[in-house]
């Protein structure tokens, strides 16, 4: 089970993407799904830095990738403050451009592009985010 830990800063995002893209390709996903997985993980890590840690270089992001016959499971852990996705307003993708409020687009992408997105928190272990993409 491939596992890597990255410093919680925006410079890590390119390296995290490289790691995830390799794993998704090795699992046999087509380019469209590889890009979807890359997007979901990138958005998740940006959220961890911005919201769980509240800034750069305040902790690490540990990533574990697990492949089964039917899916790729990516588990991200951080030691930041509890991240409650319900606290992030849903994005407004319907209103005219001039008045549209932009927020919550990262979580929207994660939910649209993955088959399952599970947020968990424990005081001892911090945030655990599981992203699952089914093989087709």
């Amino acid at each position: 089970m491939p596992k890597k830990t990255f410093p919680g800063n925006f410079r890590s995002l390119a390296l995290i993407s490289e790691f995830i893209v390799t794993q998704a390709q090795q699992a046999g996903f087509e380019p469209k799904d590889v890009y979807a997985i890359q997007t979901a993980v990138d958005e998740a890590c940006s959220n961890i830095i911005d919201h769980a840690y509240g800034g750069e270089d305040l902790g690490n992001i540990a990533i574990k990738v697990k492949e089964t016959d039917s899916a790729l499971q990516i588990i991200l852990r951080d030691k930041g403050k509890e991240f409650n996705p319900d606290d992030v307003p849903k994005p407004d993708i319907e209103s005219p451009l001039e008045i549209r409020k932009e927020r919550g687009l990262g979580i929207f992408f994660m939910r649209k592009l993955m088959d399952q997105v599970i947020f968990e928190f424990s005081k001892e272990k911090g945030n655990k985010l599981t992203l699952i993409k089914n093989k087709r």
Binding site: F10, R11, L13, A14, S17, P31, K32, Y35, Q38, T39, D42, E43, S46, I49, D50, P91, I93, E94, P96, L97, E98, R100, E102, L105, G106, F108, F109, K112, L113
Partner: protein, 111 residues
Amino acid sequence: MEIIITEEQNCDVIKIIGRIDSYTTPNIKGSIQNLINNGHTNLVMELSSVKYLSSSGILMFVNFHKQLLKNKNGKLVFSNVPELIYSNIKLAGFDKLLQFAEDTAAAIDCF
């Protein structure tokens, strides 16, 4: 990430190479804002060499588009947007709101 700006007769072509994510967005934002502040408000965003575009990058472009629309003095036109990147822009609902051209020549013709 690299930014190459070419001045055309009626617009500027901004070619971005590499990733547009939370790390690179602030630099790109600074370069575009600098152009706008100097009166360069007709902008072609050439994205053929962009490998990844995050939500922070999409929202940066949307905010520039809004800024230019509000001031009624220019616009952004996107050219050569890779299919996978376009599909995320579409997923976010911005495909109908932003302007896209098939290639850079067509984008320059929009001005």
